[in-house]
Amino acid sequence: MAAITVQGLTKRFGDVLAVDKLSFQVDEGTVAGFLGPNGAGKTTTLRILLGLVAPTSGTATVGGRRYRDLPDPARRVGAVLEAGGFHPGRSARDHLRVQATAAGLARARVDQVLEQTGLAAAARRRVGGFSLGMRQRLGLAAALLGDPEVLILDEPANGLDPEGVHWLRGLVRGLAAEGRTVLVSSHLLAEVAQTADQVVIIDKGRLVAQAAMAELTAGADRTVRVRTPQPEALRDLLLARGATVGIDGPGQLVVGGVTTEQVGQVAAAGGVVLHEMRFERSNLEDVFLELTGRKGDPS
């Protein structure tokens, strides 16, 4: 059963096509990483899903309903958007009190979520003096107020220090272990790699890949990096052996589909000198960069 369904979603801001016929699903009880480079349309998609932005066409639903049609949305969906959204003069506790009052939630929840997000000590301070990390925590606290079964987190790790990122990971794991559905966006794959069950990758508003984490990593590993003064000769020999070969700089080959031993044998048989050979297990980040076609782009 899909907790979140995005179907043919398109959003145009003037001349800019921010989201382009995007479709994907997030199953109930799973943690989905929503990935893409900055400006890929992640935030717009999430804001449409949350009823804050109207789509040009297509639908985005939570539990089969549009967000604005959900009865008691705060009890169904918790969301953390960018670290803004706080009146600088209001204290963390008052911000949560306002939210809880509007949502008709018990006052006791305010103190519980402050505790849960490690903000209890700062609860009476004005948000204007909060660091980015503390604002993220306050955003999470607000999202958890209604004890929702679906959480939508937009770049929640932004502004958190390493300790905070670690804490966030634990929190997301805990929420998932309780059977909640979590959709968490990031422009860094590593941030979600350890927690996500599935990933949805978008670029330029379009879906690039939706896959289980395991599927994405399978078949993407195993390359051998070779440095040689005779790159052309070695390339031809390896191609004849059935390997895939790419040239990566002067005297540098990236070879796929063979092991280091096989490369060594081919080189010895062909009398090619090798200066360096290295087995590379390409990491998820490479897969991600490859899929979004941004490899080598400065960003």
Partner: protein, 249 residues
């Protein structure tokens, strides 16, 4: 709806602006009352009669109306300025209900401002007037009418501010628009261009004057209240539609 109004009142109460405005309204009213009372009867100044309390209660109406107007504007336009519109509309996706709750909450805030000011005026003036030889009874139906008119004008101005705040996405623009309404500048211009002075009493500034300084040139109090409420409602409906359709990016 009750919980939304409650949440909006909580929002107002938990920002410093509201408390500062309330404190300024109290302090300003006290200062004005003291000034009028000390100057009364001196050469060139009007002396006080038995309608002294009515006059004193109405004296700070202009600044109080402005205070409520500004509270209303900041309460609505501030949601966009500070981005709090996002959490607000996440909890309550039916944005029209939020605007309606704000109308009610700022009207209540306006009533509070008027009430505080009235208490201040009476606290200063009632013990002082006998010393100036003025008999101004508290049990005066005319005084009650004035207090009621002031409360209505200030409360409706708060709601009017919400409407103006909804109309403008930019808080600064909303405040400027509010000042123009309050000061009556636009109204003078409209009346001047059309050459119909009688039109002025139907415009917001004129309508609130019917409540705070009723006289021959103004509408009846009830009519003034209705006209002022209608302006607030129309602005809130038009502005509310903008708020509802606005993309919160």
């Amino acid at each position: 709806m009750t919980r939304l109004v409650h949440a909006e009142l909580l929002k107002l109460w938990t920002t410093r602006t509201t408390r500062v405005v309330l404190a300024l309204a109290a302090a300003g009213t006290a200062a004005l009352t003291v000034a009028v009372l000390s100057l009364a009867g001196r050469p060139g100044q009007p002396s006080l009669g038995d309608d002294a309390l009515r006059q004193l209660v109405g004296a700070p109406s202009g600044p109080l109306i402005l205070a409520a107007l500004v509270l209303g504007i900041l309460g609505m336009a501030g949601e966009f300025r500070h981005g709090t519109a996002t959490p607000t509309f996440l909890v309550t996706p039916a944005r029209g209900r939020v605007v309606a709750a704000k109308l009610a909450a700022t009207a209540v805030a306006g009533l509070a401002v008027a009430l505080v000011a009235t208490v201040v005026v009476l606290a200063v003036a009632v013990p002082w007037l006998p010393a100036k030889g003025v008999q101004a009874p508290l049990a005066d139906p005319g005084l009650a009418v004035r207090v009621g008119g002031l409360a209505a004008a200030v409360a409706l101005s708060g709601a009017l501010g919400t409407g103006i705040g909804a109309l403008f996405r930019n808080q600064f623009a909303a405040v400027v628009a509010g000042l123009l309404v309050w000061q009556g500048g636009v109204e003078d211009l409209v009346v001047g261009i059309l050459g119909r002075p009688a039109l002025g009493r139907w415009l917001p500034h004129g309508a609130s004057a019917a409540l705070t300084a009723p006289g021959d040139a103004t509408l009846a109090m009830w009519a003034g209240a209705l006209v002022l409420a209608a302006y607030g409602l129309v602005l809130a409906v038009v502005g509310g539609r903008l708020v509802v359709s606005r993309d919160l990016t």
